[in-house]
Amino acid sequence: MQRIGVFVCHCGSNIAATVDVKKVVEIVRNEPGVVHAEDYQYMCSEAGQALIAKAIAEKNLSGIVVCSCSPRMHEATFRKAAERAGLNPYMVEIANIREHCSWIHKNVEEATEKAVILARAAIAKVNLNAPLKAGESRVTKRALVIGGGIAGIQTALDIADAGYEVDIVEKTPSIGGRMSQLDKTFPTLDCSACILTPKMVEAAAHEKITIYTYSEVEKVSGFVGDFTVDIRKKARSVDMDKCTGCGVCQEKCPSKKTPSEFNRGLGNRSAIYTPFAQAIPNVPVIDREACIKFKTGKCGICSKVCQAGAIDYEQKDEIVTEKYGAIVVATGFDTIKLDKYDEYAYNQSKDVITSLELERVMNAAGPTKGHLERLSDGKHPKNIVFIQCVGSRCSDDRGKPYCSKICCMYTAKHAMLIRDKYPDVNVTVFYIDVRTPGKNFDEFYRRAVEDYGVNYIKGQVGKVAPQPDGSLLVQGVDLLDNKQILMEADMVVLATAIEPDPSVRKIATMLTASIDTNNFLTESHAKLRPVESPTAGVFLSGVCQGPKDIPETVAQAGAAAVKAIGLLAKDKLLTNPCTAKPDELLCNGCSACANVCPYGAITYETKLINDHGIREERRVAQVNNALCQGCGACTVTCPSGAMDLQGFSNRQIIAEVDAICR
């Protein structure tokens, strides 16, 4: 039998106003195992903790129950206090008589009665507690960054600069991400490539950074500090070591009809290609779906023209297995599909484009060499209509319920750039609200209106109708004038909602990182832990966590890096001792527990068991305490009750049930 001390906190008047604290003390004093009971104003204060220490020493207590606020608040405080006084910290249980009692009940008699019952349950539990010791696990001093856009690059650079090895895994043939597709960036209008390329080069040249492009994360196992990751390096068909990046193969490749992903399908690329001129690495890949050699077996021109002999048609996918202490997800975004928005005629007219497509049109390296022209006939447009919130802020099933956050600013940027370069073009923007919180953001938008004469209309567009002459008839509304507007346009640009890159779902599952209904990764705490995933050791960088512009992405990338560095800087991690523990004598070896374990913490071993004199070889479950997170799924699936959870054992919970139902 334990020697239990019960400490009832007044929490000023928070508890004492509704719970008769003295009465609770008097009643629980008579519970089995209780040898000491007292109350105090603030148990969590220095003085309160000293009371606990004193009682432990004087009464030789083996277990503690603190009746106070939520264990989520001060369980750690009281455990530490007990530990300082020489008691195992896991011999402390909390009865939550504040959040679950005094704060929600008004009647003193009722609340006191409930407080007594909650205390009894905690006493019954602590009677069955056993000392537990936190284990230790090692930290692999290497980080993995999934995604090679600006978020991933920045995170990798920051971690590498702190002196740790970093690997970047990027699924496309080059790092750079969405930012490399942009022409100019708000609110300063510098050229995107001019500020991004140096970072890409720096990452590639950094001695601590390894970049896996055209690669994907295939499998993740392990846990914080000790992840094991399989990376699939897809067959590039080009030898990275031999290729000099001369580009002759791309020039000579006869298959040139594949829509360029980098140009959002607005132009074509060859079957052997680098996505863009500044690609890193500057080594092309062969798109085997498009390559004539792969399709028909005949061709092989690239191989013939390659002076370096780098073309390798036989190359196979390669799996690299690496260990990491921390993983940063930076998988970024894509624009949503517009199939459900017939009214904008996106699929009917080439002159209705998304904003990201406009970036390519405006870019000197884009399909029109940077000239603003209609994609249908190459003519210079006179009237351009921008439509905001296409698919954003929609609570229907067509779009996304959130604000994509970047559209107001880039639309102002586009409008401004067009008016600046082509003063003859009329630019109209239909908006619901213009949202420009951010340093120099509203000023930027106002400049578009005041200095560049962009016509902002509060209202939406109902329909874009392509006319027989190739023009577009735009029907919208001006809500401030309360008038319906019919205007002709040569081009319509849709500020299309963004969504997390579809690859994130699979990655989230592999990492057991939770994801919200919009496929954004969930942060551990919306305010206080915004770059940490609830899964320990996994951090979030960039738009995978929520819509962000470049400055915010870079800031968050740095924050994620700091969190990863903070982890990598440790040599050992303490593990949660409340892990599953099998009773080998009861174990049937049936594997049910291993089937439900989300961490792969359960393995089976055949070993000699001495079961009350019967010695035989048995297949029994073994739990890896470093992997087990203590969810308890295995304990319930085990038919014989061989698997139990330390700290939340079957007998402990049943004792609580019994105490409550007494």
């Binding site: 802020r393 619901i432 109902g462 029907q475």
Partner: protein, 131 residues
């Protein structure tokens, strides 16, 4: 109209239409889509505020109620599931219900027919308001 009555009417409209007017974010997509916009005194995007402000009398008496073609463009395109077209529909039903048994008889219809009225609408109207 007494205050209580309008309140009740507003509630009734919400109930019949199943529309939660609080969801409206005043984007104007409905008015931008409406083919009868210019014929209407109260514009589609304004319907919601009339319901929200319990100002049913104006809505019930507005021309808009009978100018709506029930083309459902606003219902289809409303990003917030507010669907002003449903409010119009509900307001019409309210009017019809209040008239009690005062329905048109079949003989009266030919003289009231507007030759511009689409055939389909007529049929659907019969189907809808017969009871």
């Amino acid at each position: 109209m007494s205050h209580d009555k309008t309140k009740k009417q507003a509630e009734l409209i919400r109930e019949i239409s199943g529309v939660n007017p609080y969801k409206c974010m005043k984007c104007g997509k409905c008015s931008a889509s409406c083919p009868s916009f210019n014929e209407m005194d109260i514009k589609p995007h304004q319907f919601v505020s009339y319901v929200l402000n319990d100002d049913l009398e104006a809505l019930v008496n507005s021309k808009s109620l009978w100018k709506c073609l029930s083309c459902f463009a606003c219902i289809e395109r409303c990003p917030r599931d507010v669907k002003p077209g449903k409010l119009v529909d509900a307001a019409r039903q309210l009017v019809v219900r209040e008239r009690g048994g005062d329905f048109l008889s079949a003989d009266e219809i030919p003289e009231k027919l507007d030759p511009e009225l689409p055939q389909q609408l007529l049929v659907s109207a019969f189907r809808r308001y017969r009871r």
